[in-house]
Amino acid sequence: PHFMIELPDKNDALCFNINDKPGTIFNLVRDPVSGILVNGQIIGDKKIPPDGVINTYFYRFGITRWTLGVRLEVNTEFITVYQGGERIKLLWSAPSSLKGPNVDMVLTKDRSLMVTLKDSVKFVILLHKVWEKHPYHRDYLGFYTLDSHLLSPSAHGLLGQFYHGIEYEVSDLHPGEVPGKPDATMFVKGQQLNVTRGWQRDFRNDVKNGENVPCWFIHNNGTGIIDGDASDYIVSGLF
């Protein structure tokens, strides 16, 4: 999966990929103050593609706000919400909207699930439907944080650590391996990284084709831009 950190103040964006074995669960957001936890599990292609590169995608998210007893599991087939001891199961195939004291949800059929956790975070999960008989690919999900300003400064995780913003400088732009994608040197977190100017796609407005968003791509599973390395964010369970 590709990660995108938009920085509107800088009119710029950072991006990186994180890959691991299919089945690995990563922590995306953890805020001990508001009690928010978002974990995601990745899945691989159905079989090894001809180019030999196994792509991985998120196909399951576990979202908890443990202080309010709210828990969501979103996978490519259905959504399960636990709240106040109650459980609700929604199918991607049926549009619906729910309004509760702690969580609001709007599900657009086979496309997106907008979730607002009261006084904490708003996000949307996109469902990417892939042709069922596609030889390699399968359905996967995207996770977009829309509003995180109510989260605490303690928020962390692969996405959460960037909710507080990040300081960096880029210089020494020079041609890279791929024509049209120049490399540069990024100074960030006291380190010097070789980054590549590229783009990644934001699928919120066009779930099929997406929109290209230019960004600075950090290689090697985001090494240098994330705190620690990707394996530090592996967790044992969805919740």
């Binding site: 995108m4 950190i5 609700i88 729910l98 309004k99 109510l150 989260l151």
Partner: protein
């Protein structure tokens, strides 16, 4: 409950000498005294604990410990003052250690104390309760669980009912064929004596083996004669009590809408048990009843848009509908109850329901309102306004997560009551049992009137309904103690309207109970106090703020005056150990049981321009 168990490992140094339960009932008012004596035969001081269980409906009225001829007596104090005074023992908002919930019907009282070598301790706990007539009988439950056989073990109950005892039955969950003959029962017209006193050998599971077979509930069930339709009035020491439960009244048809929560949390066993109970309840509907079924989660669906007569065909179709109820979604209680009210109102207006019939809504839910209108006070107001005093609402709270306080207030505000349904194998039976209690209304708007110039401090004398098998009790203080003729009028709306006028005279107790006339003593006054406090506690939950405050203040005053441990008071027990904090016994409420299950959250406000952070694939 463990009776006088030792916490120390060296078994044998503490000997439980006796355990006796003495339960005296005078006209439904029961006073139970549990006494236990233990001796520390060891060489060192030992901690001995006394653990017993009492019914949730009972108020503790006395507790004492006698050690080395010194008696330590519990004192009933205002709860807030007790909290301030003994902060170590009671942390804010929590009940203290002496009383804990135990199962559905009981609560546990436990206390422990250090006893010197070769010393004796005697614990005495007294609690009082007004027995409620349910499904045509009164029930006394005495729970006994001694850990080891006790040298002197005795349960004695003396029941005095001036109306005459129509039947009485005593049994215990632990009775074996060998123990059965030990239950002695002597019944005369107005008095019953029941005793059970097995020897230490008879208590053993087998000769020389540890443990005891005495472990469970000793239950006495009885009912009284009902010769007069006007009921029975008893006068003693300046107080009167009126028991009203006429027999042979024709039941009123009822129009009932069942409102069933099918939200996600009902999934599995709860939903299955609800379906089972509903099938049975539908089977038991009387042919002249009308009924409707609404199921809800975040949306509301009704079986039919109006109520249906309980014909065989309709019941059969309703059963098929009930069998298909499947769980999903959140809980929109507001919309569901309002829909039920609307159905009843519409059918009434359209004259589809019998004129002389009772309208009721039975709401079954297991959770907080989590969808639609979720503000509890708004829902209560909406429901109150919609019902407008014209129907009864019964709230059945299923499981531990239900907001019982919300259901309780909403039901009381609408001529009904709330009941918890405990998750367990018998949940379907609990549902049916509740339905049986309210399924046969006999009278509506029952008014019991007494001469204004002769009575004061009357308990509630207007009741929305009287159900078959239950009983209305009114008590008050007499301004004229030597009253010869006490006029009483009772009115109620029934299948045939009820209107009775009569006169009662004070009974000469020394004639009725020549050997036991003293036993009535302060019982009638304490019955009046118990009933008044209970009703004030109920009033303190509903109504305007100043009414609530008044009711609370009065209930507190009376709890202190009559030394009852109620939700407003605590009993402070001072232990002999000088350095130790005193212990506090509180009265548990359903809300307190729920409180611990609640949690809150905090959030941090940090304004900034919201960029997007996302993870996706392509």
């Amino acid at each position: 409950a463990r009776l006088l168990q030792k916490r120390n490992a060296d078994v044998g140094t503490v000997e439980v000498h006796s355990f006796t339960v003495d339960c005296a009932v005078r006209s439904r008012f029961a006073r139970t005294i549990m006494t236990s004596t233990a001796i520390n035969k060891g060489n060192a001081a030992r901690e001995i604990s006394f653990e017993v269980e009492l019914p949730k409906t009972a108020f503790i009225s006395n507790f004492s410990m006698e050690i080395e001829e010194q008696v330590y007596v519990g004192q009933v104090k205002e709860k807030e003052k007790a909290k301030q005074q003994y902060d170590k023992a009671v942390s804010a908002g929590k009940t203290a250690g002496l009383v804990k919930a135990s199962g559905r019907k009981m609560e546990k009282f436990s206390v422990s104390v250090n006893i010197a070598s070769n010393s004796k301790v005697t614990f005495v706990l007294t609690y009082e309760e007004l027995l409620q007539r349910t499904l045509g009988q009164y029930e006394i439950v005495i729970r006994v669980k001694p850990k080891e056989p006790v040298q002197e073990f005795k349960i004695v109950s003396n029941i005095f009912e001036p109306q005459g005892i129509s039947y009485i039955d005593a049994h215990a969950t632990f009775l074996t064929n060998d123990l059965l003959p030990l239950v002695e029962k002597t019944v005369t017209d107005k008095k019953a004596h029941i005793s059970f006193s097995p020897t230490i050998e008879q208590q053993r599971k087998c000769p020389d083996c540890p443990g005891t077979i005495i472990d469970g509930d000793f239950i006495i069930k009885y009912d009284v004669n009902r010769d007069k339709n006007l009921g029975d009035i008893q006068i003693a020491n300046g107080y009167f009590v009126h028991f009203f439960a006429p027999k042979d009244l024709t039941r009123l048809p009822k129009n009932v809408v069942f409102v069933i929560d099918r939200s996600g949390s009902m999934s599995g066993t709860k939903m299955q048990q609800t379906r089972e109970a509903m099938i049975k309840i539908l089977e038991d509907l009387h042919p002249e009843d009308h009924f409707g079924i609404i199921q809800f989660d975040h949306s509301v669906d009704s079986w039919r848009n109006s109520l249906s007569l309980a014909t065989e065909e309709n019941i059969s179709e309703a059963m098929a509908y009930v069998k298909k109820i499947a769980e999903n979604g959140f809980t929109d209680i507001n919309a569901a109850v309002l829909k039920a009210v609307d159905m009843l109102v519409t059918d009434r207006k359209a004259k589809r329901l019998p004129e002389k019939s009772m309208d009721m809504i039975i709401l079954l839910t297991d959770g907080d309102p989590t969808s639609g209108e979720t503000r509890v006070p708004v829902i209560q107001q909406n429901v109150r306004n919609a019902i407008g005093g014209n129907m009864s609402l019964y709230g059945l709270g299923f499981g531990n997560d239900v907001d019982y306080g919300f259901l309780d207030v909403m039901s009381r505000e609408n001529k009904g009551l709330a009941r918890r349904i405990y998750t367990g194998a018998d949940a379907a039976l609990q549902l049916q049992g509740f339905y049986d209690e309210v399924s046969s209304p006999l009278l509506l708007d029952v008014d019991l009137r007494y001469p204004d110039n002769a009575v004061e401090s009357l308990t509630t004398n207007h009741f929305s309904q009287l159900f078959n098998g239950s009983e209305i009790i009114v008590a008050g203080r007499l301004t004229d103690n030597d009253i010869d003729n006490f006029p009483v009028e009772v009115y109620g709306q029934g299948f045939d309207d009820f209107s009775e006028i009569g006169q009662f005279s004070a009974v000469d107790w020394s004639v009725m109970y020549p050997e036991d006339d003293y036993i009535f003593g302060d019982f009638t006054e304490r019955l009046w106090a118990y009933l008044t406090i209970q009703q004030l506690l109920e009033k303190s939950k509903t109504g305007a703020a100043d009414e609530k405050a008044n009711a609370t203040a009065k209930a507190l005053d009376m709890s202190l005056q009559y030394s009852f441990v109620t939700p407003l008071t605590s009993m402070v027990v001072t232990k002999p150990e000088a350095d130790d904090s005193p212990m506090i016994a509180d009265k548990l409420t359903e809300e307190q049981r729920q409180q611990a299950e609640r949690s809150g959250g905090v959030s941090h406000y940090r304004p900034s321009t919201p960029p997007t952070y996302f993870v996706d694939g392509d």
